[in-house]
């Protein structure tokens, strides 16, 4: 299979990251904070980062360096904890673009730095970053598969479900404190909702047959999923309060893997109605079903990008899976993974600047993060086997507590 051409690298803004200055007793913390932010800027896909020394005098305008950014930071001991002051300067105009002080403790310094990263990206691009978001995924140890949750970069991974069975396909609620997933804990593949606030899960759909592949509507009122209660896998919309179930597809073949468009008015899905799995789209009412993938024999697990302009999916060719990105109209499909092994389960990050996926390129399946053009691939998990990533949403508009915006 030949899909388009290999994508070229993303255009990135140059960013000079200064070594962070440290107040008395905060030298180690300054280094740690710097390393976290350096990693965040690297992963953002927005900046080409290089290291530099902190400014010793006031920056002078350098029109030749228009569009380049310098980031300065300082960590100080403040009371029982720490405080971090970060600033982003436009090297072209020598003006401060963003400056804020963040209170922190040694244990949540990482979180404060993620927030600084997202604030800087928002100030410079108008679109917030994802360093504060989290991911859910499935980790397999032995024969058991449980849902895990981690920071966006794979750090601070912790086990969410302890059902000692097989859990699959986690999906985030748009409000970020609930995860829908499939579990076999009662012997049947049932859909459960995990409440992150209560730390407990409860059944959502336990109909006979399959209850899998959940996807929340953008307004959170519906969960699209695959049910086989009528003898054959079909896509249903089940209201979040579980009161109403509306069947969207009906044929004797398998329809699965629904994914809402960001408008909530369309759903991309997989169907093998024409003999092999292909990506289709329908209106949210189930009408106007149409083929989307014009290339490839086996195309599965589509996901609509957060901006609605693109769809990512996994395509099997020459007995391996690779990640394909195409326009939402099915045009311009581009293969973005090329490594050995299977590259599957592609999922957009909340800002659409990144794609999470699982790959068996190093032997066992692990989670990776890359730019939508396939560049900057970074491995996020090690040990065991991890797959089925799901990127959590960004926090809803926070109320700014302090500092100049």
């Amino acid at each position: 299979m030949r899909i388009g051409v290999k994508a070229s690298g993303t255009l990135k803004s140059p960013l000079l990251l200064a070594r962070f200055r440290a107040g008395p007793g905060a030298e180690g913390d300054a280094r740690a904070a710097h390393d976290v932010v350096r990693h965040d800027f690297d992963l953002s896909g927005v900046f080409a980062v290089s290291d530099t020394e902190p400014l010793t005098e006031k920056l002078t305008p350098n029109p030749a360096a228009q569009g380049s950014v310098r980031v300065e930071g300082m960590v100080e001991v403040a009371g029982a904890g720490l405080q971090f002051t970060g600033e982003a300067l436009d090297i072209g105009t020598a003006e401060s673009v963003f400056k804020r002080t963040y209170p922190a403790t040694r244990s949540d310094l990482r979180r404060a730095m993620h927030r600084f990263n997202d604030d800087v990206i928002e100030a410079l691009t108008g679109e917030r970053g994802i360093a504060e978001t989290r991911i859910a995924f499935v980790r397999q140890s032995g024969r058991l598969k449980e849902v895990w949750i981690a920071d966006y970069d794979g750090e601070n991974a912790r086990q969410l479900t302890h059902d000692s069975t097989i859990a699959l396909s986690p999906a985030w609620a748009p409000w970020g404190s609930e995860i829908a997933f499939t579990t076999f804990k009662r012997g049947n593949p049932d859909l459960y909702l995990f409440d992150l606030g209560r730390g407990a899960s409860y059944p959502f759909s336990t109909r006979p047959g399959l209850n899998t592949a959940p996807c929340y509507s953008p307004d959170g009122k519906w969960i699209a999923c695959t049910l086989s209660r009528d003898g054959n896998a079909e896509i249903y919309l089940v209201s979040r309060d579980a009161q109403t179930a509306r069947r969207l597809t009906r044929n004797q073949r398998i329809d699965s893997s629904p994914s809402f468009s960001p408008t909530g008015n369309q759903i991309a899905f997989t169907s093998d109605r024409s003999g092999s799995p292909q990506v289709y789209v329908m209106d949210v009412e189930g009408s106007n079903q149409r083929l989307l993938t014009l290339e490839g024999r086996y195309n599965d697990s589509p996901q609509w990008s957060p901006k609605g302009d693109r769809i990512v999916y996994a395509s099997r060719h020459d007995a391996v899976f690779d990640v394909i990105v195409m326009d939402a109209n099915g045009q311009n499909s581009v293969q973005v993974t090329f490594q050995a092994g299977h590259n599957e389960n592609p999922r957009w990050s909340a800002d659409g600047r990144k794609i999470y996926f699982s790959s068996s390129r190093s032997g066992r399946r692990q989670l990776y993060l890359m730019n939508p053009d396939g560049s900057d691939v970074v491995q996020l998990t090690k040990g065991g086997e991890s797959f089925n990533p799901a990127a959590g949403p960004r926090a809803r508009k926070r109320t700014q507590a302090a500092g100049p915006g």
């Binding site: 597809t249 044929n251 073949r253 408008t263 109605r273 024409s274 106007n288 609605g308 045009q331």
Partner: protein, 247 residues
């Protein structure tokens, strides 16, 4: 009648007469009668058994045949579904090719005109224009999408995707909650492109739009017309559900 009534009496008299020299005679007679009765009963049971077995076998045979038939029917209907799917997909592929063809035709026309003064300002090729407008629908830029599809229909009224473009104009209103205008535009798909493949989808969306503006009677009429005209379409099944919502 008389003879019958006399027989037991005769038998009784004989038994009484024989009783003195053969005390077990009466019993023996009853025993043999009973024996033959039991034998015939056993034979009867055997025959019933055999018949039941035959019946079971027949039943199994019928069930097996039915199962085979069911499987065959399922296979056939699955094949039919696949064929349907393939036809639909071919339709999609054809429209896509046809769109590309429109672009090529336009380019040829442009290049033949190229000898003279040529004005290409603002002319986007047909396919690119359609695709851009469609992307706007997906991204929720409904006003932009509507304008582009309207322009597309003015420039390429005979395009193979003209009915699609008209459908998306309806959808651009539907997506913004302007159901009154959605009704007008979906109706145009049905009236202007009656042979197009978007008609069932447009009829269904017309019905939904009518329901949203409380034209319940019109909505139900649209659903019924859809079910009658396109009974095998996915939209007909959806319309049936809207007509008879499950409690």
């Amino acid at each position: 009648m008389l003879r019958r009534a006399a027989l037991p009496a005769l038998a009784l008299a004989m038994a009484m007469a024989l009783s003195s020299c053969a005390p077990g005679g009466y019993y023996n007679t009853s025993q043999s009668a009973l024996d033959s009765l039991l034998t015939s009963q056993a034979q009867l049971a055997k025959r019933i058994d055999a018949m039941e077995r035959k019946l079971d076998a027949t039943r199994e045979g019928i069930a097996a045949t039915r199962a085979t038939n069911d499987t065959r029917l399922l296979e056939i209907s699955q094949h039919l579904d696949v064929l349907d799917g393939k036809i639909d997909d071919s339709g999609a592929r054809f429209k896509n090719l046809s769109m590309k063809l429109d672009t090529v035709k336009k380019q040829i026309a442009d290049s033949t005109r190229a000898a003279g003064a040529r004005d290409t300002t603002g002319t986007l090729d047909a396919e690119a224009m359609y695709q851009a407008a469609y992307s706007d629908i997906a991204a929720g830029r409904y006003n932009l999408a509507r304008e582009s599809f309207q322009t597309y229909l003015r420039l390429y009224p005979d395009s193979d995707v003209a009915d699609n473009a008209q459908y998306w104009i309806g959808e651009s209103y539907y997506g913004t909650g302007d159901f009154a205008n959605a009704i007008v535009e979906f109706q145009k798909v049905i009236d202007k492109y009656p042979k197009g493949d978007k008609v069932p989808a447009a009829m269904f969306k017309l019905g939904l739009s009518q329901a949203r503006v409380k034209q319940t009677a019109e909505s139900q009429k649209t659903y019924r017309a859809l079910i009658q005209k396109y009974p095998k379409s996915p939209e007909a099944a959806l319309a049936k559900e809207r007509l008879n919502p499950k409690s």
